[in-house]
């Protein structure tokens, strides 16, 4: 299996016209069930790659990513592709420019082939909040792929592309990666330029990578990181700190206290601890008492920043205006926003506006920022005694979509394990840790700033006891058709949705 997933086999897929046509047909067939893509246009991507100075059909590839197709969450700009952010307000918006992270990949010969579905503006944990329909988990089409980068994770898990970009504000790369049984990297805050990422919560979010292979995450991250003159919150990558460590790893294991895990996650958590012990990793208990205040502080900050960032969507210079409108400009803005934005986005804008209102700031926003300082210090203290910290990604496994699933409030509370890395600006990597009842369960390692390499090495180590699992719908570029009887089970599940 590993052999067929090597980047070189993917690069042949796109370079050879016959293979390309068969792969495009495969993606269209698979995506009729998974619905990972909002836009799939490899020819447009090939034009961009050619314009960037790389020729995907060239027989002398310039780098290991040369000719490799990849998908991009639809809140990251790629010139001439749409940039909808999963919002009806932006359903016809064509991006005039390309995000720095994507541009760097283009310059290395990688080919953007499409834009993936997401919860509107990145707000959600199931991709059900998209304005353009949901995405289905390729492990079980009756379940959500997680979110908000659900389309990116589902596309990778189903074998449509070898890697995809997402964005992580409170877990939006790691949780869908965990739900789809693949790897998801949330880099150190500032390590990857956000030029071209549509802003939601600027002090929290980063562009991240989703892939089935750890080596692919490493390769892509090494290309996209670095300071960018066009993003003033980007920082030079600290290579020296990145190289620190080596030898036997000490992993901090937090006392999860009163936070209850669903049975399947509890089981995976115990298996992960056992697996790590078998690998001669030293486990050390740690305490993170601020964790239980984290979700409230996180949502105060995220919503406050969202209310400011999303004020720009006014239907004046771009975006959808209410049809046949004739009023004054103020009403035009109100009506465009009200008809274009979905419920979850409106809720967060309302909350953010409320906590920033004069008289309430001390009570909410300022207090949340002080709690943020406490959690940062707690992590700093913890990392003086351990190399990495292990945590679950989400308290439950992939849940069903619709009313049988998790209500929006419970989804927010469930961000507890992921949002800590965003609040403290730390890198974190989620990895497949177990398959329980035929569904993947992910865990994550968190590291000090710029410790991405340490995270990758720890996941490589753990992959010895639990290699990346294969979902029923998965097909690598060199094999024919979905495998085994599980494939047809998942397929039949897909027929029932509306």
């Amino acid at each position: 299996m590993h052999k067929t997933e090597e980047p070189s086999s993917w690069s042949r897929t796109l370079a050879d016209p016959t293979q390309r046509a068969s792969w495009m047909q495969f993606v269209r067939d698979q995506d009729a069930r998974v619905r990972a893509f909002l836009q799939f246009d490899p020819e447009l991507g090939r034009e961009l790659a050619t314009a960037a100075g790389s020729t995907p059909s060239d027989s002398t590839p310039t780098g290991s990513l040369s000719g490799i197709p990849f998908a991009i969450k639809d809140n990251i700009a790629v010139r001439d592709f749409k940039l909808t952010c999963g919002s009806k307000l932006l359903k016809d918006f064509i991006s005039p420019y390309t995000a720095t992270a994507v541009q760097k990949l283009l310059e290395r010969g990688a080919v953007p082939v499409g834009k993936t579905n997401l919860d509107e503006f990145g707000m959600g944990s199931s991709t059900e909040n998209s304005g353009f329909g949901m995405t289905y988990n390729p492990w079980d089409l009756e379940r959500v792929p997680g979110g908000s980068s659900g389309g990116s994770a589902a596309a990778v898990a189903a074998g449509l592309v070898p890697f995809a970009l997402g964005s992580d504000t409170g877990g939006s790369v790691r949780q869908p990666a965990a739900f789809c049984g693949v790897y998801g990297l949330k880099p150190t805050y500032g390590a990857v330029s956000r030029f071209g990422l549509v802003a939601y919560a600027s002090s929290l979010e980063v562009i991240g990578v989703i892939a089935r292979q750890i080596s692919m995450i490493r390769e892509v991250f090494s290309v996209i990181r670095g300071q960018d003159p066009r993003d003033h919150s980007s920082v030079p990558y600290d290579e020296a700190r990145s190289a620190e460590g080596g030898g036997r790893i000490t992993v901090g294991v937090p006392d999860l206290g009163s936070i209850s895990l669903h049975e399947e996650v509890q089981s995976a958590w115990e298996k992960t601890l056992d697996g790590l012990k078998g690998l001669e990793v030293t486990l050390k208990p740690i305490e993170l008492p601020t964790l239980e205040y984290l979700v409230s502080a996180y949502y105060v900050i995220a919503c406050a920043e969202a209310s400011a960032n999303l004020a720009r969507f006014d239907g004046v210079r771009y975006g959808n205006r209410t049809a046949g409108f004739s009023g004054n400009p103020e009403q035009l803005v109100r009506w465009s926003r009200s008809s274009g934005l979905g419920d979850e986005v409106k809720l967060r804008i309302l909350l953010g506006t409320y906590v920033l209102r004069s008289g309430f700031q001390d009570q909410y926003y300022l207090r949340a920022q002080r709690i943020r300082t406490a959690i940062r210090r707690e992590f700093e203290g913890a990392f003086s005694g351990v190399d990495l910290i292990l945590m679950p990604v989400y308290p439950c496994g992939p849940f069903k979509w619709g009313s049988e699933g998790l209500d929006p409030f419970s989804q927010k509370l469930s961000d507890i394990f992921t949002c800590s890395a965003n609040m403290a600006g730390l890198p974190a990597l989620s990895f497949p840790a177990s398959v329980e009842n035929a569904l993947p369960i992910g865990m994550q390692f968190l590291g000090p700033p710029f410790a991405e390499e340490r995270l990758l090495q720890a996941c490589e180590l753990f992959a010895r006891v639990f290699p990346v699992p294969t979902c029923p719908l998965y097909r690598s570029p060199q094999t024919e058709g979905p495998r085994g009887s599980e494939g047809s089970r998942a397929q039949s599940g897909g027929q029932e949705r509306g």
């Binding site: 064509i94 502080a297 409108f325 926003r337 809720l347 309302l350 909350l351 300022l366 300082t373 409030f409």
Partner: protein, 91 residues
Amino acid sequence: MEREELDITAQLARLELSDEEKKRFEQAVFQMLEYFSKMREFDVEGLPPTAQMTQTNRTRKDAVIVNKETEAILGNAPELEDRFIVIPNVL
């Protein structure tokens, strides 16, 4: 949250809410504010706020950068008259 508070907040957020939406959001906003109140238990005495993560302020040269994307940007405008974006009468 009181209906009046919600109305003021929606006004500030430039959102027009229908009566049905007001009912739904009233409850959802209240639920979250209740949850936010958990922060009161936490002693923040002596803790400075973390307002941004990189802790540095980078500046750039005050220089002209030519934008080559003007046409593509105008192409996204909902209504154009020549090179002007049309909005309803201000008066």
